[in-house]
Amino acid sequence: MRFWEKPFGKEKPKTICGEIHIINDRCKGCSFCIEYCPRNVLEVSKDFNKKGYHPPIVVKPDMCTFCGLCEMICPDFAIFVIEKEDE
């Protein structure tokens, strides 16, 4: 019944996107996440963290597709992504 009420295509299809969290002071500035992000969401920040490294910074938050590669490849457990529904 629901399908009759809401015809296919009427509702905007959900897109999965991610919300990137960076734990700045844990980062050792290896740039793995920046290099391997398929959609270039991250960039090297100009700021230093406590240890004198340049942590990444999210520059294109809307481009994140929650692929999780940055989280997987980060050797310092300093970055993670949480699934977020796009409104």
């Binding site: 960076i22 700045n24 050792k28 290099e35 590669l69 050797p75 310092d76 457990f77 993670f80």
Partner: protein
């Protein structure tokens, strides 16, 4: 944006239930692949669905030897090279455990090489994850049994003269049930491999090729960790059908990755049980023999204390 990031930091990393956060940050260098390997391991464990309470991790000595200390599992940081026999004892004395050895190439294949081949031969039900960075990292870049021919190290200033071990070939030839090789760049495939191994019976061996920017790259003009990772990316190919004994790692050849062996062989413990059962059935009168000999030797009127007061000097006193 900066504001936003600060706010987001309050949320905790999803791996924190399996990491000892009170020990972070870890001691590994910037650009080292070990952290990625640990992430893959944690994700692999989650994927495998094993109970964390029933998972034990054993490490030897070295950079990779510190892994046990960062994982919130029953974790044992043992002596140099002896993680595998320790893990064998742990597993055999409590067969409910999933026992993982996480150690480096020097620990597992130089000082501990004998233990590795014998554990693989026995097919003890443990998983061995070897992080191969081609060099001794913690002690300052000395030659390892995996250092490629011609590569420089602090004990090979003229280039390494020795042929390196092909780890997957050695493990497969020794009889491992599962053998795979990945680089830290193959994060997802590595995770899958670790999950497969966690649920697989028998001796499972996974080699993780990992960048060591601080000593290996510096001595061999490898650049940063990122440069090494990029190099792995260009050199790595995936070939599950490759014969593991024919794919050694050199300075510039292809890094053949894949799951090379995935067999089902009876494990050590299965063989033990089968052997005992067969033997006891053959000698069904064993029990009878035992009770017979007891009947003769165990007379009622004899005191148990007869020779227990070992007063050796009775004659003299």
């Amino acid at each position: 944006m900066a504001n936003n990031t600060a706010q987001l930091q309050e949320k905790s990393h999803p791996m924190e239930d399996l990491l000892r956060m009170d020990r972070m940050p870890h001691i590994w260098c910037s650009g080292c692949g070990l952290g990625s390997a640990v992430t893959a391991f944690v994700e692999g464990l989650k994927k495998a669905g094993v109970s964390y309470d029933k998972t034990a991790i054993v490490s030897g000595i070295g950079c990779t030897g510190r892994v046990a200390g960062y994982l919130r599992l029953d974790s044992y940081h043992t002596t140099h090279g002896r993680a595998i026999p320790f893990a064998t004892g742990l597993k055999l004395a409590n067969r409910d455990l999933t026992v993982v050895v996480f150690s480096g190439d020097g620990d597992l294949f130089a000082i501990g090489g004998n233990h590795l081949i014998h554990a693989a031969r026995r097919n003890v039900d443990i998983n061995v994850i070897c992080v191969n960075n081609f060099i001794y990292g913690m002690t300052g870049g000395q030659n390892a049994p995996t250092t490629p021919l011609g590569a420089y190290s602090s004990t090979a200033p003229f280039g390494n003269y020795e042929m390196p071990f092909n780890l997957v070939g050695l493990a497969a030839a020794s009889g491992a049930s599962y053998v795979a090789r990945w680089t830290t760049m193959h994060a997802r495939r590595l995770t899958d491999s670790i999950a497969t191994a966690a649920n697989k019976k028998g001796f499972c061996f996974i080699e993780i090729v990992s960048p060591c920017p601080t000593v290996f790259a510096r001595k061999n003009k490898g650049g940063t960790g990122l440069d090494m990772l990029k190099e792995f990316q260009t050199r790595a190919i995936i070939d599950h059908d490759a014969d593991p004994t024919t794919i050694p790692l050199n300075m510039d050849n292809e890094i053949v990755c894949g799951e090379f062996v995935n067999d089902d062989r009876p494990t050590f413990w299965e063989n033990v049980q089968a052997g005992i059962k067969a033997r006891l059935e053959k000698f069904a009168n064993w029990e009878e023999m035992q009770s017979n000999s007891r009947k003769i030797s165990h007379k009622k009127d004899r005191k148990y204390t007869s020779s227990r007061d070992s007063s050796i000097m009775r004659r003299n006193t």
